[in-house]
């Protein structure tokens, strides 16, 4: 009888040991549907920050880096980077051209139908209470705006007359200062110096339809001076980017109809002193630049552009210290928006938000997912991590 018991126990032990699942063989979760995956050309670690229909743009990271605000079809929303919680901050009939987080946790927006057409608009501030769609108007006749380096102040360029512009400073939602010194012409874009004491201005001179001048405005003295004037009908695209290595800006002229009418813009660099701009070193003479943004540390420049006029659009980072110019994405079939305000660095300088969609065939498409889950069918925001190679170790 004892033999029978021993045999039974041994058999049970052998069977249990043989049938037990090791921890490594847990069931593998099914892959998400193809519609939910990011196009591989944006990089293996790129992740969507939005989905579904809507014309999106003007991404802006909160100072903590945990939220990204952007404009959808004119109204302003923000999304938590990790939690996918979406908050709308304005009514849907609001028309915003630009939205920026400020240090007090509110969004400052340049809006109005005129603002999206390059005419003066108004600056509004969102209600700090989340979920409120109320906005407060803070300034009118605003041509352009930019937050200061720490986002405590917002610098405004104001229309001061028929071909004259003024500069003003907003702080904590109040008009802190309106400078008496004016700028001849119409300011079309503004960006701060790394120390926040000065701003670079792109200026359209009287009688011109292009922004062909670069000015520097000193916020301490209230004085402005012209530092560059572009020739050959070239126009400055978007805001100049004031870095630790000078002022970079994108400029060019519309190409001829024989070149498919696509503008051919180049990246330039100049010192913040009067002088002639030079082609930005390191990017290659065939590079076609779109939007550009300086990193929070001021040492790198993110640029959306093409290596040459036939190349696909990609995101590049120019290291201003080493001169390295690296492709961050290897996209071939996405249209990355090249608007001057369509990319933004995270506050830590570890990723860049871009706006892209799949190339449209112009034919009807059918997808096996709800519209609000689709990614590349519409313009959507993506967070693209920026890895900075470690500098080579110095020989001992």
């Amino acid at each position: 009888m004892r033999g029978l018991l021993v045999a039974a126990c041994a058999s049970v032990t052998v069977l249990l040991a043989g049938c037990a699942h090791p921890a490594a063989e847990d069931p593998i979760q099914p892959l998400p549907p193809a519609e939910g995956r990011v196009n591989s050309g944006l990089g293996p670690e790129a992740r969507p920050l939005s989905s579904g229909p809507g014309y999106k743009g003007s991404p802006s990271w909160s100072l903590g880096g945990d939220r990204v605000a952007f404009i959808v079809d004119g109204y302003v929303v923000d999304r938590t980077v990790d939690g996918e919680q979406l908050t709308r901050w304005t009514t849907k009939d609001f028309v915003a051209a630009e939205a920026e987080w400020t240090a007090d946790g509110t969004l400052t927006m340049l809006g109005g139908a005129g603002a999206v057409e390059g005419k003066p608009g108004a600056v509004y501030r969102t209600d700090s209470k989340e979920g409120s769609l109320g906005v407060e108007k803070m300034a009118e006749d605003v041509l352009a705006m930019t937050p200061g380096p720490e986002h405590k102040d917002v610098v405004l360029a104001l229309e001061a007359g028929a071909d004259e512009s003024a500069v003003a400073l907003l702080r904590a939602g109040r008009m802190e200062r309106v400078y008496t010194g004016t700028v001849p012409g119409t300011v079309t874009a503004v960006s701060p110096s790394p120390d926040g004491d000065r701003v670079a201005l792109a200026v359209r001179t009287p009688g011109e339809s292009r922004s062909g001048e670069l000015h520097v405005f000193d916020l301490r003295s209230g004085e402005a001076r012209k530092i560059s004037e572009l020739e050959d009908d070239r126009s400055i695209l978007g805001a100049p980017q004031w870095t630790e290595r000078g002022i970079y800006f994108v400029a060019g002229a519309m190409s001829s109809p024989a070149d498919d009418g696509e503008p051919l813009y180049d990246l330039y660099r100049t010192e913040p002193e009067p002088g002639e701009p030079e082609p930005a070193p390191g990017v290659g003479e065939d590079f076609v630049a779109g939007g550009a943004r300086v990193s929070p540390e001021g040492d790198r420049l993110a640029v959306v552009g093409r290596l040459n006029s036939k190349s696909p659009l990609n995101l590049y980072v120019l290291n201003l210290t080493t001169g390295n110019f690296d492709a961050v994405t290897t996209n071939e079939d996405m249209e990355i928006k090249t608007g001057a305000d369509d990319l933004a660095w995270s506050p830590a300088g570890t990723s860049v938000a871009i706006v892209a969609r799949g190339t449209s065939s112009g034919e009807p498409e059918v997808r096996a997912a709800p519209a609000d889950e689709l990614l590349d069918a519409f313009y959507n925001l993506y967070e693209v991590p920026i890895t900075t190679p470690e500098p080579p170790e110095a020989p001992r």
């Binding site: 009888m1 033999g3 029978l4 018991l5 021993v6 045999a7 039974a8 126990c9 041994a10 058999s11 049970v12 069977l15 249990l16 049938c19 549907p33 519609e35 579904g52 229909p53 809507g54 014309y55 743009g57 404009i71 959808v72 079809d73 004119g74 109204y75 849907k92 009939d93 609001f94 028309v95 915003a96 051209a97 139908a113 999206v116 057409e117 449209s360 112009g362 034919e363 009807p364 498409e365 059918v366 997808r367 096996a368 997912a369 709800p370 519209a371 889950e373 689709l374 069918a377 519409f378 313009y379």
Partner: protein, 165 residues
């Protein structure tokens, strides 16, 4: 000899007991195949037996005008009949600031296993004034048709058609 017989009998008994226990546990873990169908299917997850076929040529023939007929084929590709198939179609603009959405509904009765039926929707795809002066995409705005088919048995399928009208 007797010990050997006892060993053999004991081993066989233990094997049967253990195999039975594992069979019981495995059945508890998986349940029957009929219970695999979720009561409320996840959004966007196509059901196993229902399919919607949207013909591209027919989609391409739609115009931004009223009275546009969209024909689609509903197919029961499974082995069981469906008593009802509820079809809902939402037509909306790619412009999310445009509050206009139009909804259409059809119900199919008794869709047999293996059967496919063509269903028509008469859509109003006339252009709506832009909701605001907000900047728009550089090319034509699209019309979005989101079509859902569901059955009381919990089977569902969804298709989203994007029409560059």
């Amino acid at each position: 000899m007797r010990d050997a017989a006892l060993w053999a009998a004991g081993a066989a008994l233990a094997f049967l007991l253990t195999a039975g226990a594992f069979l019981f546990l495995a059945n508890l873990a998986t349940g029957s195949s009929a219970e695999d169908l979720p009561a409320t299917p996840a959004r966007g997850k196509p059901g196993p037996a229902l399919d919607l076929d949207l013909n591209r040529d027919r989609l391409a023939s739609l115009e931004p005008a009223p009275d546009q007929e969209l024909l689609l084929t509903v197919e029961n590709a499974g082995g069981k009949d469906f008593s009802n198939v509820n079809l809902t179609l939402e037509s909306s603009s790619e412009d999310t600031a445009n509050p206009r959405s139009r909804y259409y509904r059809r119900t199919l009765r008794d869709l047999k296993a293996g059967e496919n039926v063509e269903v028509g929707f008469l859509l109003n795809l006339s252009e709506q004034p832009q909701a605001s002066g907000a900047p728009t995409a550089p090319d034509e705005r699209s019309e979005i048709l989101e079509i859902r088919a569901t059955t009381p048995e919990g089977v569902s399928v969804i298709r989203t058609a994007i029409l560059p009208l």
